[in-house]
C-alpha cells in the first residue's frame, strides 16, 4: 500500500500570517543578527577608546579640540540619533499598521513594555550624565584651584621679573660705565675692569651670570651687525651656555634701540635670563650693546616651569571650556546614544524574538488545524523558544504519523468494507438469482431477508420483511411451513429438514425445506435461515423416468406374447372355418375381438416403446413460422368442410431456432390435435358464447428473454386447474382414452430443445405456450 506523502513545507517568520505558502525561508536581516550588531557596537566602542588613548597621550589639548574632531563627534552623534529615531519610528509605525494582524497587539504591547524598560533608563542616564559633566566642569574651575595656580604663577613670574630687573639694572649700569672710546677703539683692557667690577657686584648679590660687550660694526653689504668685544662670566656658570643667543639678542637691541629681554633654557635644566641694552654715544648714536645674563638654577627653573605650565594648562582649559565641554558632551552623548540605540534594538530584538516564534507557532497551529500536517517550522534559535518550536515540530510530526496510520487503517477498513460489501452484494445476487428460496429470521422470529425465489415460491413481497414469520406463515397456503419457523422455540434441534407440499394457485409445489438455527458466541440464538428448494420438476422428472422404465418393461413384457396370441387367434379362426356356422360365427367374433385388442395393445405398446426409446433431437437452424405454416397446411383438407377455424397469427422476421423439424412438427400436431379434440372435432358446434370454435396458432419473439414463443390457444372448455400440472405426466388424459403420452412426449421434446412449455387458462379455453431459445 502506498500513501501520498506531501513534501514537508517549512514556515519561517517570513510567513506567519500566511502559513499556506511555501513560502521560501527568508534570509535574516543583518540588523536581526546579534553578532553583527554586537560587532558594530564593539567597533564603535573601540574607536572611542582609541580616541581617548590618543587624547591622553597628547600633551596639548588642541588635537582634541580641533574642529574636525568636534564636528566628527557631533556628526556621529547626529547620525546615531537619526538611526535611533529611524529605528524607533519605523518599528512604531510597523507596530501601528500591524496592530490588526494576528498577534499584532501582543507584539505591540511586548515592544512597548521592553522599550519602556530600556529607553527610559537610558534616557535618564543621558540626562543625568550631561548634568554630571556640567557640574564636573564647574568644579574643575573652582575659585580655590584658580587662586592656587595664580599664586604659583605669580611667584614664578615675580622671580623671573626680579631676575630680569636685576639683569636690566646690571646692563644699564655697565652701559653707563663703559667709556665710549673703548667701544669705538675696541680697547678691551678698559672694558674688562668695568666688567670685572660688575661681576663682583653680581657675586655679592649671589647672582651667577655673565656680561658681554658688543661693538656695532658695518658688514660688507652695509648692514648693521655686532662684534663681541669682551666677555666675562662667573666661574660657576655652566660652560654650555650658547653665545649665539647673546649675539642675536645684542643685534636685536642694537636694531631696536631699546632693551631686549629673553629667557633661555640650558641643558642642565637651568636657564639664563638675558637682557641686552644698547650703548649710545654722546650724539645718541648706538655704538654697541651690553648683554647681561643671570643664571637661574635648575631647581628653581624646573619649579618655575612647572608652575607656569600648570597655570597655562589651567588657563587653556578655562579658555576652551566651552568647546571642551562640547567635546566631552559629544563623546558622552555618543556613548549614551549607543547605549540607547543598543537598548532600543535589544528591546525590539527581544520583542521580535519572543513574538515571532509565538506568531509562527500560532500560524503553524492554524495551518495544522487546516490539515497541513506536513508543516515544519524553522527554529531561529536554540534556546527555550527554539525548543518550543522543535516540540511543535515533533507534535506536528506525531500528528502526521498518527494521521497516516489513521489513513492507512481507514483505507484498510474501507477496502475490507468494500470487500464485505462486494461479498454481500455477490451473495445477495446469488441469493436473488438462485432457484432456492432463502429466508432469514432474527432471534425474535421477524423476517430479515426474503430472496426472489422465496418470494416467487411463497407469494411474498418485500413488505413481508420485518414482520413476524409466524404471522406470514400462518397464511392458509403457507401453513405447512409453520413448523420451520417454530424451530426458534426449540433451538436445541439446531435444524429441521422436511419435504413439504404447498398448494398454491391451484397447483402443488413440492418443497425440500431446511431450517437452520444460527448461533453466535456462547450458543446464543441469533436467528434462523430457512431454505426452500422447489423439487417439483425433479419429482416430475423422476416420475417420467419411472414411467419410461415402466413403459420399456411393459413394451418388452407385453409385446412379446401379443404376436403368438394374435397368431393363435388367427389359427383358431382358420381351424373353425369348417365348423358349423354358429360355432364359426362365435369363433370369428372371439378371434376378431382378440385380434382387434391385440392390435390395440400393439399400438399401445408401440407408443410406449416410442416414449421409452425416443431419440434425441437433431437440431438445425430453422424458421419456426415456416414449420408452423407447413404443419397447419396438413389440416387444410380436414378442417375445410368443418366449422372449426384454424387461425395462424405469425409474427414476421422471427429469428431462427435450432430445432429438430420432425420432432417440433410432432409437437405442433399434438397440440393442435388436442385443441381440435377439446373443441369437439372438425365439425364441432359453435361455442356456448356463440362464437365459432377457433384454434389460434401464434408466434412471437421475446428479445429480452432471447427466445421464440409459440402459442396454441383454443376457446374450448379448458382444463381444470388441478389437472394442469398433471397434463404433461405420462398416462394422464382428460379424454378417457388414448395412452396419455401425447403431452408427455411434447414436453420431453420441448425440454430437450432447451425450451419450456406451460399451460394456461384462456378466455375461455386453454392456452399452451412453448418457448424455444433463439439461435
Amino acid at each position: 500500500m502506498t500513501t501520498d506523502r506531501a513534501v514537508p513545507t517549512s514556515l519561517s517568520s517570513a510567513e506567519p500570517a500566511d502559513p499556506a505558502g511555501a513560502p521560501a525561508r527568508r534570509r535574516r536581516r543583518a540588523l536581526d543578527n546579534p553578532r553583527v550588531v554586537a560587532l558594530a557596537i564593539l567597533a564603535l566602542v573601540a574607536g572611542l577608546v582609541a580616541l581617548g588613548r590618543i587624547a591622553n597621550r597628547t600633551t596639548e589639548i588642541s588635537p582634541l579640540l580641533s574642529d574636525g574632531v568636534a564636528y566628527a563627534l557631533y556628526a556621529l552623534d547626529l547620525a546615531i540619533l537619526a538611526a535611533l529615531l529611524f529605528v524607533l519610528v519605523r518599528n512604531l509605525m510597523k507596530l501601528w499598521f500591524d496592530r490588526e494582524k494576528p498577534f499584532g497587539r501582543f507584539r505591540a504591547q511586548l515592544v512597548a513594555a521592553l522599550l519602556l524598560l530600556t529607553v527610559i533608563p537610558a534616557g535618564l542616564v543621558v540626562i543625568t550624565g550631561s548634568e554630571v559633566i556640567r557640574s564636573s566642569f564647574d568644579r574643575w574651575f573652582s575659585v580655590p584651584a584658580e587662586e592656587v595656580l595664580d599664586s604659583a604663577k605669580n611667584l614664578a613670574k615675580a622671580y623671573y621679573d626680579q631676575r630680569q630687573a636685576s639683569a636690566t639694572e646690571s646692563a644699564h649700569r655697565v652701559a653707563a660705565a663703559l667709556p665710549v672710546a673703548a667701544l669705538t677703539t675696541g680697547n678691551v683692557g678698559d672694558l674688562q675692569g668695568i666688567l670685572g667690577g660688575e661681576l663682583t657686584v653680581m657675586r655679592a648679590a649671589a647672582v651667577v651670570g655673565s656680561v658681554e660687550v658688543y661693538q656695532a660694526v658695518r658688514t660688507a653689504a652695509g648692514t648693521a651687525d655686532v662684534a663681541l668685544l669682551v666677555q666675562v662670566g662667573s666661574a660657576t656658570l655652566p660652560p654650555n651656555t650658547v653665545r649665539a643667543a647673546a649675539d642675536r639678542l645684542a643685534a636685536r637691541a642694537l636694531g631696536s634701540g631699546h632693551d631686549e629681554p629673553t629667557s633661555e633654557d640650558l641643558d642642565d635644566g637651568g636657564g639664563l635670563v638675558r637682557v641686552a641694552t644698547p650703548v649710545r654715544g654722546a650724539d645718541g648714536v648706538t655704538l654697541g650693546a651690553v648683554v647681561v645674563s643671570e643664571y637661574v638654577p635648575a631647581v628653581v627653573r624646573t619649579e618655575q616651569r612647572k608652575a607656569m605650565v600648570a597655570f597655562d594648562k589651567y588657563q587653556q582649559v578655562k579658555v576652551l571650556r566651552g568647546p571642551l565641554q562640547g567635546v566631552y558632551l559629544a563623546i558622552y552623548l555618543m556613548i549614551a546614544l549607543l547605549i540607547l540605540i543598543s537598548a532600543t534594538w535589544f528591546g525590539l530584538f527581544m520583542a521580535r524574538r519572543i513574538a515571532r516564534p509565538v506568531q509562527m507557532l500560532a500560524a503553524g497551529a492554524r495551518a495544522i488545524g487546516a490539515g497541513r500536517l506536513d508543516l515544519r517550522l524553522e527554529p531561529e534559535s536554540t534556546d527555550e523558544l527554539g525548543s518550543l518550536v522543535e516540540s511543535f515540530n515533533m507534535m506536528a510530526a506525531e500528528l502526521r504519523s498518527s494521521q497516516e496510520k489513521l489513513d492507512q487503517s481507514r483505507h484498510q477498513l474501507e477496502r475490507k468494507n468494500d470487500e464485505v460489501d462486494g461479498r454481500r452484494r455477490y451473495i445477495e445476487t446469488i441469493l436473488e438469482r438462485v432457484a432456492t428460496g432463502v429466508l432469514s429470521l432474527d432471534a425474535d422470529g421477524a423476517l430479515l431477508t426474503v430472496n426472489g425465489a422465496a418470494e416467487r415460491l411463497l407469494g411474498l413481497d418485500q413488505t413481508a420483511i420485518g414482520q413476524r414469520a409466524r404471522d406470514i406463515l400462518s397464511r392458509e397456503d403457507l401453513r405447512p411451513l409453520l413448523p420451520l419457523a417454530d424451530v426458534l422455540r426449540r433451538p436445541e434441534a439446531a435444524g429441521v429438514i422436511q419435504e413439504i407440499t404447498l398448494a398454491r394457485d391451484d397447483r402443488e409445489i413440492q418443497l425440500a425445506a431446511a431450517a437452520t438455527v444460527l448461533t453466535g458466541e456462547g450458543g446464543r440464538v441469533e436467528g434462523v435461515v430457512l431454505v426452500l428448494d422447489d423439487v417439483t420438476p425433479l419429482i416430475r422428472a423422476q416420475r417420467v423416468a419411472a414411467w419410461r422404465d415402466v413403459a420399456r418393461r411393459l413394451a418388452h413384457e407385453i409385446k412379446n406374447p401379443l404376436t403368438p396370441i394374435q397368431l393363435s387367434a388367427e389359427r383358431l379362426r382358420r381351424n373353425f372355418q369348417t365348423a358349423s356356422p354358429p360355432a364359426r360365427a362365435l369363433v370369428d367374433e372371439c378371434t376378431g375381438a382378440i385380434v382387434t385388442e391385440v392390435e390395440a395393445l400393439k399400438t399401445l405398446v408401440d407408443e410406449f416403446a416410442q416414449f421409452a426409446r425416443m431419440r434425441g433431437p437433431r437440431a438445425v437452424p430453422a424458421d419456426l413460422n415456416r414449420l408452423v405454416e407447413d404443419t397447419l397446411r396438413l389440416y387444410a383438407g380436414v378442417l375445410q368442410q368443418g366449422r372449426l377455424h384454424l387461425e395462424p397469427q405469425l409474427t414476421r422476421d422471427l429469428p431462427s431456432v435450432r430445432m429438430d423439424l420432425e420432432q417440433m412438427r410432432q409437437v405442433i400436431i399434438n397440440l393442435v390435435d388436442n385443441a381440435v379434440e377439446a373443441l369437439g372435432g372438425a365439425n364441432a358446434p359453435e361455442r356456448p358464447d356463440g362464437r365459432p370454435p377457433t384454434i389460434v396458432v401464434a408466434t412471437s419473439h421475446d428479445g429480452a428473454g432471447g427466445f421464440v414463443r409459440l402459442v396454441i390457444a383454443d376457446n374450448g372448455p379448458g382444463v381444470p386447474p388441478t389437472d394442469r400440472d398433471k397434463l404433461f405426466l405420462p398416462y394422464f388424459s382428460t379424454k378417457g382414452r388414448g395412452s396419455g403420452l401425447g403431452l408427455a412426449i411434447v414436453r420431453r421434446i420441448v425440454t430437450e430443445h432447451g425450451g419450456g412449455i406451460a399451460v394456461g387458462e384462456g378466455r375461455p379455453g386453454t392456452v399452451f405456450t412453448v418457448e424455444l431459445p433463439a439461435a
Binding site: 588642541s62 574642529d67 604663577k153 629673553t262 607656569m308 587653556q316 579658555v319 576652551l320 568647546p323
Partner: protein, 180 residues
C-alpha cells in the same frame, strides 16, 4: 512679485548674500603688477576678545586667511580662478610675556618675529601684505574680477553644532578690472 514668488525668493536670497558680503570686516586691497595679482588685507576685528583670551592662556592661535580670486557669474555661482591660504600664528610665552608671531604660506614660514607689545602682535597677526595669487591661466583683459578673503581663527572658544554656521570669523572682498 506676487506673480513670480520663486523669482522674488531668489532676489531676496541674492540681496541677503550681498548684504552679508557688504558687512565684511576684512579690508582687502589688490595690486596688479606684471600680470600678477597681489593682495593685502587686514582684519583687526577678527582678533576678538575670545581670541585674546586664547592667546593669553598660552595656547597658540592661528589666523587662517583663505584668499580666492573669483570672477562673477550672472546665473550661477561665481567662478573661483585661484585659491591660496596663508596663516598667521602667535604663541605667548606667559613667563616672559613675549609674543612669538610667524606667518606661513604654502607650508613655509615666510616671516617670524617677536614682541612684547600686544598691539604690535595684533597688527602682525591680522594683516598680510602683498600676498601673491598664482593663476593657472592669464587673466582676461578688461574683465571684472574680485578677491575674496575669509579669516578663520583656531582654536575657538565658541562652538557651533555645524561647521557651515559661523565658521568664518570675517571676510572681505575687493573688486578690480584687469586692464593690460
Amino acid at each position: 512679485m506676487k506673480r513670480h514668488p520663486v523669482l522674488a525668493a531668489a532676489v531676496a536670497l541674492f540681496l541677503f548674500g550681498a548684504a552679508t558680503v557688504a558687512a565684511a570686516d576684512v579690508k582687502v586691497s589688490t595690486l596688479i603688477a606684471d600680470g600678477r595679482v597681489y593682495t593685502s588685507f587686514t582684519a583687526p576685528a577678527a582678533f576678538s576678545t575670545d581670541a585674546r583670551d586664547v592667546v593669553k592662556s598660552g595656547l597658540p592661535l592661528s589666523c587662517v586667511f583663505t584668499v580666492e580670486l573669483k570672477r562673477a557669474a550672472t546665473l550661477w555661482f561665481d567662478h573661483t580662478l585661484a585659491t591660496t591660504t596663508v596663516t598667521a600664528s602667535v604663541k605667548l610665552d606667559t613667563l616672559t610675556g613675549m609674543y612669538q608671531v610667524s606667518k606661513i604660506q604654502d607650508d613655509k614660514v615666510i616671516w617670524s618675529d617677536r614682541t612684547m607689545q600686544e598691539d604690535q602682535m595684533r597688527t602682525w597677526l591680522t594683516g598680510f601684505d602683498r600676498v601673491a595669487i598664482a593663476t593657472p591661466t592669464p587673466l582676461e583683459p578688461n574683465a571684472e574680477y574680485y578677491v575674496q578673503v575669509t579669516v578663520h581663527l583656531s582654536p575657538r572658544r565658541t562652538f557651533s553644532l555645524w561647521p557651515l554656521w559661523g565658521h568664518d570669523d570675517g571676510s572681505g572682498r575687493a573688486d578690480f578690472t584687469f586692464i593690460r
